[in-house]
Symmetry: C2
Subunit: 399 residues, 2 copies
């Protein structure tokens, strides 16, 4: 751990993944000193953050020592000890977002609270798998929804993990093999499309919302995000309003990402992340203030920045590890074909299906920009067909 600088705030980030790494990128120009609590060696932040404290985020003693050394505590991920955080909060530590907001990561809590606040959510059923009538409840719910449902673990899922598509006939076997957290059952919806709205909120409630984003999921994992979303202005305005309400209901401080389903033209809240989020990465180059800078400004209770897009369209595509090689050796081939691509590599080891980076491309026409962003991401991942020598390098500024 290095000492704090002579002036300015120290922000403590619990967790050392790529979100901490990108928070560090935003903190440096702002003159905000970042200290990171890192539990695992192969993560994104340690390569670029000198002020690293080694300790497990789920160890209350480590968390307490870390919190006492910084001005504000924030998060790279939600796998933290909420009891320990609540105790720190009670002692006056600035934990942002607070424990009450982090509690909404629990999907059961979220669905119940949002439904009672009048927010649009899918029909749902919370089931404790240990209850004797759990199976009957799930079968009854499935029968009301065409004999099938989606079951989600209320805690611990991400990137498609902890989500199961089930038919009535599967439910008994599924429950026999499941011993996790309470389940949330929902109907299998026929989606028009998926949206994400990012909101930043200061402790006093002042907030700023970015343009509504369209997200493309592949296998339950975010693959691509772009703006403008292909929705009407009216729907975009309603999506932004839902997100602002979610920020209020959850009492969020900092950035909050709200993922929405559009079903038959109507909005339903799907998930939320009480932090900077994959869906907001395109704001780094695509909007006047990035989600990472805005998050720091919000948790420090500084005035928020404008969120307007800086180009007619922006597309972000995730880079996942491929069967061989590493994207850190392939930047030149990606830039040869897409010189305008903004590369973001997270400093994590490449493994198949692991998110290890993303690419953002700005431009005028969404289909063309999507094509180019996907090409750059494929070239980095080593999965593009056109990586052999002799391919056309159209678009390179130096031919």
């Amino acid at each position: 751990m290095t000492g704090r600088p002579a002036a300015g705030p120290v922000v403590g980030v619990v967790g050392a993944g790529q979100l901490a790494r990108m928070l560090a990128e935003a903190a440096t120009p702002l003159g905000v000193h970042l200290r990171v609590l890192a539990g695992d060696a192969d993560e994104g932040a340690p390569e670029v953050v000198p002020d690293l404290v080694r300790g497990a985020p789920d160890d209350p003693a480590a968390l307490r020592a870390f919190a006492s050394s910084v001005d504000v505590v924030t998060f790279d991920h939600e796998n933290v000890d909420h009891g320990a955080l609540a105790a720190l909060e009670a002692e006056g530590v600035a934990v942002r977002p607070g424990v009450a907001t982090l509690a909404f990561s629990d999907k059961a809590h979220q669905r119940v609270a949002f439904a009672s606040a009048g927010l649009p959510v899918p029909d749902f059923l919370v089931v404790d798998p240990a209850e004797p009538d759990a199976l009957d409840q799930l079968i009854g719910f499935a029968e009301r929804h065409g004999g099938r449902l989606v079951a989600k673990a209320s805690r611990g899922g991400y990137d498609g993990r902890g989500v199961w598509m089930l038919e009535s006939d599967d439910l008994e076997d599924f429950l026999d093999g499941y011993d996790g957290a309470p389940l949330v059952a929902e109907p299998r919806l026929d989606l028009d499309l998926e949206l994400a709205v990012l909101v930043a909120r200061r402790p006093g409630g002042a907030s700023a919302t970015w343009p509504v984003l369209e997200t493309v999921q592949v296998g339950g994992m975010c693959d691509e995000v772009f703006l403008p979303a292909s929705v009407t202005e009216d729907l975009a305005a309603r999506a932004a309003e839902v997100a602002r309400r979610v920020a209020e209901v959850t009492g969020a401080v900092g950035v909050l990402a709200v993922e929405l389903f559009v079903v038959d033209g109507a909005l339903l809240v799907n998930e939320l992340a009480p932090r900077v989020h994959n869906s907001g990465h395109l704001t780094i180059e695509g909007c006047a203030t990035s989600q990472f800078e805005q998050h720091l400004r919000a948790i420090l209770d500084w005035p928020l920045g404008p969120t307007d897009p800086v180009a007619p369209c922006a597309v972000m595509v995730n880079v996942v590890g491929g069967p061989e090689g590493d994207p850190r050796d392939r930047q030149a081939s990606a830039l040869a074909q897409v010189p305008e691509a903004h590369l973001h590599l997270y400093g994590k080891r490449s493994r198949p299906a692991r998110k290890i980076g993303h690419v953002t491309v700005l431009g005028d026409e969404v289909d063309e920009v999507r094509r180019r962003a996907n090409l750059a991401a494929d070239l980095l991942a080593g999965t593009a067909p056109g990586t052999a020598p002799g391919v056309d390098v159209a678009g390179s500024v130096d031919g």
Copy 2:
């Protein structure tokens, strides 16, 4: 020193100032690992670069050990041992820019070489102050230029240091008190305005030039830079052409900044910096590819990125230390009045007249954007009149 990552290039930066800090900001998303040779404790980079090697850049042994641990050597500043660098280069170390380019930091060498290459330079005279007729030569030069001249130390000057405005009558006293490097005498010119052009050049000669910038100097120190420059398209094109020629003549690799005088509508090369430069800081937000990213791409021999501006105008204003306080405690007051400002604080201790940061603002109308950028810089420096409580915070997104 931390180990090199499992994949990707390692760039070694000699010197740990704000240029190294901003190179680090650009290296992180690219997945380029940065290692920095740092000689002084109070500089900008150590706060944000974990892979720091302590050693003096002018110590040949330290330089050699450092160079052997990286793939490419580049520079935060030019105060390096050229003999040691030349030896490394001869052994095949990738020193970028190379010693032949760094030699152009010597103003005497530069003027002579540029004049013989047909580049437009002011009338000049190189004088060795130890020569017995040095005074006579200077007096003769001054007499041909209205009885006055500018004397510049050929090496070691920066930010207005090493430059003297002299009359014929001052010359004897001046020479008596001077025992530095050879002097370059030039006429005192009546400038229309000053320009800067940044060029990035790959080892094979492919290059990219940013839009021509207008610079405003105060007391010999760059105060403000903006685009578009208030010159005709024709003059801008000629300035870009001069800069490209300078890059070729100097054999530059990486970013090169060329500062130009405009006198009676004609261009004259003033200075050059064979590296990223203060005049190019607005490219971070103002252009499709920043000078820092482009420098890394150029020295790694990767394809260069587009350099188009992303907004109609962009203004950068330097932040210098004031008599009290630190800009790292004043971000919120600057952002309250100029929420769209992009702040860059360098992590250096605040001292009067020391450059410790800069601010960039993008917008549509250059006078208004200049006003707002200057306001933000003044607020950070603690010198703005409107910092008392109760000032209007118009423009804040959250009112």
